[in-house]
């Protein structure tokens, strides 16, 4: 197998197109093959990846539109490796789910459904792999198209309104980002004849601080809408209510992470001055997302929205880690992005199963008591729930630990307040678990055990959660070199700023670390 990123990138779409031409019965199988191959490629990259190298690996670099300096440049480094893997895993799981449950959505125009799923995977992979700002923007905007159709055509209740909100919000963000991207390229090329959008070139040509400011804000708006972050989450409830389940799993699991990744890939390296300047603003938005998302999650009674608002809070943590602007925070953010995707997708699957057992109701007041007759389902949910609330011992905890530590050394008060989000997470997650699995059986609840088809998707995902919990180093060591290199410039800027959080932070020198006696 040649390690060529273009193959992984376009394979899903190619098979999706093939599915359009094939008989409807085969479309799902073809999409499954496409996402399966992409997953296989992603695993190969994860295994083959050189953790010690901070720079890009497996680079593809072709001129695309020469006159505008746009190149078709792809690459993998510590920032996107885990997210590429996550994309592969979740798309395969969701496509498999759709295939196994084909009574529900895919029966209605399956060829189109799977085509859009495949297109979405290619778009997401493109946004993650792109090493050229213009290419990044194209793929980032392309992501919206398949989800627009998937929600609009296969969605449930009030799908029109949901779709419109989704489109309007993200379109505004996209346009801001587009403007900002073009401005970045053009302003950076001032005095230099060759226009170029490649990240490597842009990083060499820093913008004036005044330009950095507004460009940063435009990008930030686009990313915060996509996450979504408070108070730009207005589109989220309707969209989450109406998206078909496999679509929702990848949307919540991966798309929000692409936005977080955008901060690390685009804004931090290209606009270090603005990132430092607006650090407080972004930290406060993140903090508000954590507290508001948690408060909403523990009062709403719709199971899907509990997960939706908990995602708002979790993305708040990830943003917090990124804008700690140090290696620890960013390490935590990347690991947490991976963890959260890995946890939220099975959580949505489980909630769907519980809703199916509660006569189709999404309301937790109609659920309850399935644990007795469905112990396997209950056990899987328990593991997922504990991982969601980031119990120490889960990889999610390690992510939060790094995030909070990064913020703690930077802005101590924010870390202390954000910690309240951890406690609230314990409450709303357990509330969801208890009201659906424990207590007395709801009036319309039929307790059925997990079927083999459902287990086929859920069990491997849960095993993966357990595996990464035993060895979070697996992710941390792969991102460390790149993260250190990416955060170094802005961290240095911060270090020069007077009056920082805690008195001093003593970086760990190997020599200063006393070893225990008999080690």
């Amino acid at each position: 197998m040649t390690l060529h990123l273009s193959i992984m990138l376009w394979l899903p779409l190619a098979l999706g197109v093939l599915g359009l031409l094939a008989p409807p019965r085969l479309a799902g199988r073809l999409a499954l093959v496409g996402s399966g191959l992409a997953l296989a490629y992603a695993i190969t990259y994860v295994v083959d990846f050189d953790s010690a190298a901070p720079g890009l690996q497996y680079v593809t670099d072709e001129t695309w539109i020469g006159e505008l300096g746009i190149s078709y440049k792809l690459g993998i480094d510590g920032l996107n490796l885990l997210l590429v893997a996550l994309t592969g895993i979740l798309w395969f799981a969701s496509t498999l789910w759709a295939n196994l449950q084909d009574r529900t959505h895919a029966a209605d125009r399956p060829r189109l459904f799977y085509f859009h799923m495949a297109l979405a995977e290619t778009a997401v992979l493109g946004a993650l792999l792109a090493q050229d700002l213009a290419l990044f923007v194209v793929f980032f905007d392309l992501m919206l198209v398949p989800f627009f159709f998937l929600t609009g055509m296969w969605g449930r209740a009030r799908r029109v309104q949901a779709t419109m909100k989704l489109v309007i919000y993200t379109l505004v963000g996209s346009l801001l980002m587009l403007t900002a991207a073009i401005a970045t390229g053009v302003l950076a090329a001032q005095g230099d004849p060759a226009l170029s959008f490649a990240f490597s070139d842009l990083a060499q040509r820093p913008l004036a601080e005044s330009s950095q400011q507004w460009i940063f804000l435009f990008f930030a708006a686009a990313f915060l809408v996509k996450m979504p972050a408070f108070p730009l989450h207005g589109w989220m409830p309707d969209a989450y209510r109406s998206m078909p389940l496999p679509v929702l799993a990848v949307f919540s699991g991966v798309l929000s992470k692409v936005a977080a990744y955008g901060f690390l890939r685009v804004t931090l390296p290209l606009f270090p001055a603005a990132s430092e300047q607006f650090q407080m603003l972004l930290l406060l938005i993140a903090l508000a997302s954590i507290l508001y998302g948690s408060a909403m999650a523990f009062t709403t009674t719709e199971a899907r929205l509990i997960l939706g608002y908990s995602s708002v809070a979790q993305l708040g943590f990830i943003t917090l880690g990124i804008f700690a602007l140090n290696a620890q925070g960013a390490q935590g953010a990347i690991l947490q992005a991976f963890n959260h995707g890995l946890v939220v997708a099975p959580a949505f699957f489980i909630v769907a199963l519980l809703a199916a057992r509660a006569g189709g109701s999404q309301d937790i007041r109609d659920m309850g008591g399935v644990g007795m007759r469905a112990p396997v389902l209950a056990s899987l949910f328990l593991i997922v729930a504990f991982a969601t609330l980031a119990i120490p011992g889960s990889s999610n905890f390690v992510g939060e630990f790094y995030i909070l530590l990064g913020v703690f050394t930077e802005k101590i008060v924010i870390a202390l307040v954000a910690a309240a989000g951890v406690i609230m997470a314990a409450f709303y997650t357990l509330r969801l678990f208890i009201t659906s699995v424990h207590n007395r059986t709801g009036a319309r609840v039929e307790s059925r055990e997990l079927t083999l088809r459902e287990g086929l998707v859920l069990v491997p995902l849960v095993l993966l959660i357990v595996a990464i919990a035993l060895y979070p180093q697996f992710g941390l060591k792969r991102s460390e070199a790149t993260v250190t290199a990416v955060t170094a410039p802005v961290a240095t800027r911060l270090a020069e700023r007077p009056g920082r959080g805690l008195t001093q932070y003593a970086p760990l020198a190997e020599t200063a670390r006393p070893k225990a006696q008999t080690r």
């Binding site: 198209v145 108070p231 290696a327 120490p392 909070l404 357990l430 979070p472 008999t518």
Partner: protein, 670 residues
Amino acid sequence: MTSLKLFAWLTLLFPLAGCVTIALLGRRLPGRGAGYVGTGALVLSFAAAVATLLALLDQGHDHQQVVAVAYDYASSAGVDAELSLLIDPLSVFMILVVSGVSMLIHAYSISYMGSDRGYVRFFAYLNFFVFSMLLLVLAGNFLVLIIGWAFVGAASYLLISYWYRRTTATGAGIKAFVINVLGDVALVLGTFFIFAHVGTLDLLATFEQAREEFAPGDADLTAGVILLVVGAAAKSAQIPLHTWLADAMEGPTPVSALIHAATMVTAGVYLIARMHPLFELAPTAADVAAIIGVLTLLVAGTIAIAVTDLKRVIAYSTMSQIGYMIMGVSAGAYAAGLFHLMTHAFFKALLFMAAGSVIAAMAGQQNLDRMGGFRRAMPFTFGCMVIGGLALAAVPPFSGFFSKDEILLLMGDRGGWYWILYVAGYVGAFITGIYTFRMIFRAFCGEPVPEARALEEGHLHHAEVHTNPASGEVEDTDVGFPGPEHHIAEREPAMKLAMGVLALLAIVGGLVQIPKLTHVIDSFLEPTFEESALYHRELSDGLIGFGLVLGAVVGIAGVAVAYLIWVKNPDIATRMRAGLAPLHRLFVNKWYFDELIDALVTRPALWFGAWAQQTFERVFVNGLLVGGTTGVVRAGSSAVRAAQTGFLRYYALLIVVGMVALSLYFLLNA
């Protein structure tokens, strides 16, 4: 790997293996198979703990702090988080107590839980609980410690809500869990304060660095250590984070025994003892902990006099006894605090087992008001209860006498304001005697209740309709738990065996450390506390002699008062309840801590959530921000319908047009 490290890992891994085995295969095992597998895992674990002890003693005095590293767990960006164990006298002491007592509780549960439909699940949780506690006490760095800490909380949640069809049980479970998570978070933040200065998570390295980095009384260190105290208070049910403990009585009785004796509430005591180099550098924080301990021991004692639920009386007595330990280890009485931890584990497990036996004879009833006269019907249980009670009331020569007195002796020896603790400790001891024997006299003496009379004739009472003792709600019987049959110690050899061993330990356990005579615990733990000045204090003979006499008198006086009030002259109790009505109300309502926390924390949080839900989200997020767009949404609805045919084109066109226009703009300006 040396044999020492191997044995330590085995101690830890046997319960985990047991848990996984039972979880995966438990349903295939015949009869009580899961119980035997679970207990077997604990027997092996205890054997490995003993082997660890022997291997450690072989090491020689100067090499008794060993770190065993498995692999890099989460080390990057300057954080050194390995999966490591710290094997030293303190952790070995703890694993012996934890695995030993847990082993007996497992054995008891084989019979006690016999008819419960959740039998398999119960033993899987039980093994996981012990694994978590062993991980906590063996942890070699802060991160592993926090993991063990949180797993203990998770396991306790699972077991408290074990009978999850009862909403009272799931409510108690979530309460315990959330308060425990609060403790976890405090522990994490405390770790941050310390890590920011010492730059390592390794415990031994932290202590070494701390002595260089921090001047005594350093503000950051004090903040960090106070956060550790918050963590300890949450786990050890100290004021004001204690409210979960009494509700935790919703779990089956063996779970209560486990939580109270071996695997949970002692964690805070262990934490303070483990972190003693930091506490000694932050004396203010240590004093805060000692004050929390003394308040808890008094408040819990007064509540225990008033409550009428058999298990809750014992629960509040635990709170009170843990108060002694927290006070002790915070004020520098390390060996004494840990000694009391050990003896308490023996007699408290025994008391809960005996209580379980009585509750079984009452067919699940826990109310003391309904009990009475079980003395003749259940002689073995009665004997065990009395032995446990005498040890708890600190009557010589039972084990609790020596351990409690040693804590108080050190308080007296430190002088100054520690005298307040010294005096309060004896007041608490007097109260202990009263509430302990109030419970025993009311359950076992007086006129036999119908259940006791039936049992004397050989019939174990069975309830016609099963009800939840906490709410009176009729149970969901198709579920099969709590099990339809009840098991009492008099008829079950496994229960008898576990209680017999514990009764013996409750009697003789104190002999290992008698002032002036034996120093087993003192000298064994010495390597851990080598650098501590407080550890090596010499007590004056006068203080020792006075303390021993005073302790004996106070303990016996408490028992005598209880005898007077509840056996000799029962109307004193009624008259006192009427005469001291306001005080009685305060105690029965548990000093209104639940109401206070409800008003200060729960309600505001829910209010904020409701406000966000009903007002903010609707008006601001959906109204203002989307308000402008709602119109667009309506207007756009037709566009969406059209979209299914060709919106993609428009969208693509929009992107292209926008991109071209903007490109032109910038190219022209460039």
